[in-house]
Amino acid sequence: MTGERLNDVSGDVSGEVSTAGAVVAGDRVEPEAPVGAALPRDEPGGQADTKPRNNRAWFLVLPVVVSVAFTAVIPLMTVVNFSVQDIFSPTDRIFVGLDWFRSVSRDPEVRAAFVRTLLFSAQVLLLEIPLGVAIAVSMPRHGLGVPVALVLVALPLLIPWNVVGTIWQIFARGDIGLGGWTINNVLGVNFNYTLDSTDAWITVLIMDVWHWTPLVALLAYAGLRSIPEPYFQAAQIDAASGWATFRHIQLPRLRGVLTIAILLRFMDSFMIYTEPFVVTGGGPGNATSFLSILLSKIAVGQFDLGPAGAFSLLYFLTVQIVSYVFFTVLTRTGR
């Protein structure tokens, strides 16, 4: 407990621990710390304690709390409400506790969809992150090529989800779609995403890669552009190869943007709905029936509000937890 107190750098250490405050300041001035970082710590703890404290600024946070309550908490609570009741009619309902959670988490169909969605997200990340970085690295840094490349790369991002679905639904068709026809008749591979589950999976995956790799590329490009010129000049002087320059200068400096890219792409692909719904409708069989598609089937198709509510909450929690894990791992490693 005391140890935790001591590590707390914020000014919250108030009057009663003035000696502890002094220890904080004393401990924290490490001789090796960068000068800039050391500056705010140099303030002696004893001095800080005599300042009057006024925490009324917290009231300024009130509008945010209110708006978040309306946009997130209250809708979420209605879902919680559904998830713990069995509703027969608007007037006839019974409290069932965690029953729905139990049955949903044991449902083999849900479990299969969960594994499927996780696999899909993993593949999306493995393909889109390296590809996006590769595109960003090969985009021009100077001159007229910059705007041209930016527009070309950003194009897929401007297309609405269901339009992307429609484009690919037609594009991948064996009879009238350019892509599907080419695979069948030029490459001579039998391809039909409405009948073959592997083909359907690949179609949805490639569609997502096409749609969202540009986002990763743009984020990475922004990250690369922020690297000061002398780093590249130093690399030239040190005779670093193109790969070494990428590995030791560009990649380490992409950590921040790639963390964001990975989080965004994970959340988005884990919740993917519209495109597979338009292209395959979750089929053939259950091949592309991701969690969101299954959820909408339960909630909208069967109108099972209790299981759907429990499902939604579990779904939401999973996204939160995985994102948190990603974030923690990505920001903690290599510090």
């Binding site: 090796e32 710390a33 960068p34 000068v35 800039g36 000061p228 002398p230 780093y231 000049q233 130093a234 030239q236 002087i237 040190d238 005779a239 670093a240 190869s241 070494a244 030791h248 200068i249 380490p252 290599g334």
Partner: protein
């Protein structure tokens, strides 16, 4: 080691409309420590980048000894460069940072290790070799950047582009003496860019002053101070800068208004009559009772007490004139005094270039 020779080297960033660096011919002699001094935007970085090959000059050729390196890429020139802020491979250890340029050049492992250890010893980095370079303080980081240049056995010159900008003043001093020490021990040619004159004057064997893309004077620090060859050098070096008073040459005498200041002595032959500017440093202006030329009368406007010395401000025909005197001087604003110039320390400038000096009027040669 070899001289670095620039032959008609010039650079323009906009296809020849303006010169960031005017075509110049200049030799950086082997084993010397140079300071390249100039205001912001005068082309210092451009010049360094041309030498190291990061930039290819619009015109001219660059020679390293008897090798024409104009078209040789940076990696194959024997030149190291240190930038304004520490440039490190941050996720690598200090050791790996130092080894990096050698590994890229495929040196054998044993030699890399030996060289890294020698340089780390030289730079006092022995205790930090295993640390991540990002964790070091900025001063040490800059030393590591320097070390990456020094490990390479073939390096002929080290170019430092304002290397101490991000470093706090106390550390600056240590680093500068370390640099001097290294220069003495290794004998690399050093070119040290700065726009801080004390840094330049204390560090270098030779100071090169660059202004608007042009070398206006080069020489030993004292030479630049005592006899500036260009008005800019007078302004830029010394604090406060040189006094400049517009004057006229008529009949062999230098006149300010109606007053004869002294006799004009041309550098090569007599000076033709016409407008000219007198340049004299505040250090060489004395306020005396005896009105012996060279010198002039001026009305005192104020005295700045600087602690160790006083600056007496005066006006001559609406042009300011400053004299540096001992502390505790008693001159009242409004008083008219005679300001005498030290012999051989007052110069004449035409088109900003020095053309002569001022001697006493009575026929004796002042210089």
């Amino acid at each position: 080691m070899a001289d670095i020779r620039l032959e008609g080297v010039g650079h323009s960033y906009d296809g020849g409309r303006t010169w960031a660096l005017r075509p110049m011919t200049w030799t950086w002699r082997s084993d010397r420590a140079y300071a390249l001094l100039g205001p912001s935007g005068c082309g210092k970085t451009t010049l360094l980048n041309i030498i190291s090959g990061l930039l290819s000059p619009t015109t001219g050729r660059v020679w390293l000894g008897d090798r024409d390196v104009t078209a040789v890429p940076t990696a194959r020139r024997n030149i190291a460069q240190v930038f304004q802020f520490p440039v490190l491979y941050e996720e690598m250890s200090v050791y790996d940072n130092l080894a990096f340029p050698l590994r890229n050049r495929k040196y054998p492992k044993a030699e890399i290790d030996q060289r890294v250890r020698r340089v780390s010893h030289l730079l006092g980095l022995d205790d930090h070799l295993r640390r991540r370079s990002r964790r070091l303080d900025p001063g040490r980081q800059q030393i590591v950047s320097l070390g990456r240049g020094l490990v390479r056995p073939e390096v002929a010159a080290v170019l430092l582009d304002e290397p101490l900008t991000v470093i706090d003043p106390a550390m600056k001093w240590t680093l500068r003496s370390k640099l001097k020490e290294i220069h003495r021990d290794t004998g690399h040619t050093l070119i040290y860019v700065t726009h801080d004159q004390t840094e330049a004057l204390t560090f270098a064997d030779e100071v090169v002053v660059l202004n608007e893309g042009e070398i206006v004077q080069a020489g030993e620090p004292t030479e630049l101070f005592l006899s500036p060859a260009h008005e800019f050098v007078g302004h830029f070096i010394g604090s406060p800068g040189m006094n400049v008073v517009p004057a006229e040459i008529a009949g062999g005498a230098v006149r300010v208004g109606a007053e004869a200041v002294g006799r004009a002595v041309g550098e090569d032959g007599d000076l033709p009559p016409g407008p000219v500017r007198i340049g004299v440093r505040p250090e060489f202006v004395r306020i005396t009772a005896a009105q012996a030329t060279p010198g002039l009368t001026a009305r005192i406007t104020g005295v700045d007490r600087m602690g160790a010395y006083d600056l007496v401000r005066a006006r001559v025909d609406d042009h300011p004139l400053v004299a540096k005197t001992g502390a505790g001087s008693r001159y009242a604003p409004g008083a008219v005094e005679f300001f005498r110039f030290d012999a051989g320390r007052a110069f004449l400038f035409r088109d900003a270039v020095r053309c002569g000096s001022i001697a006493p009027l009575d026929g004796r040669d002042g210089s």
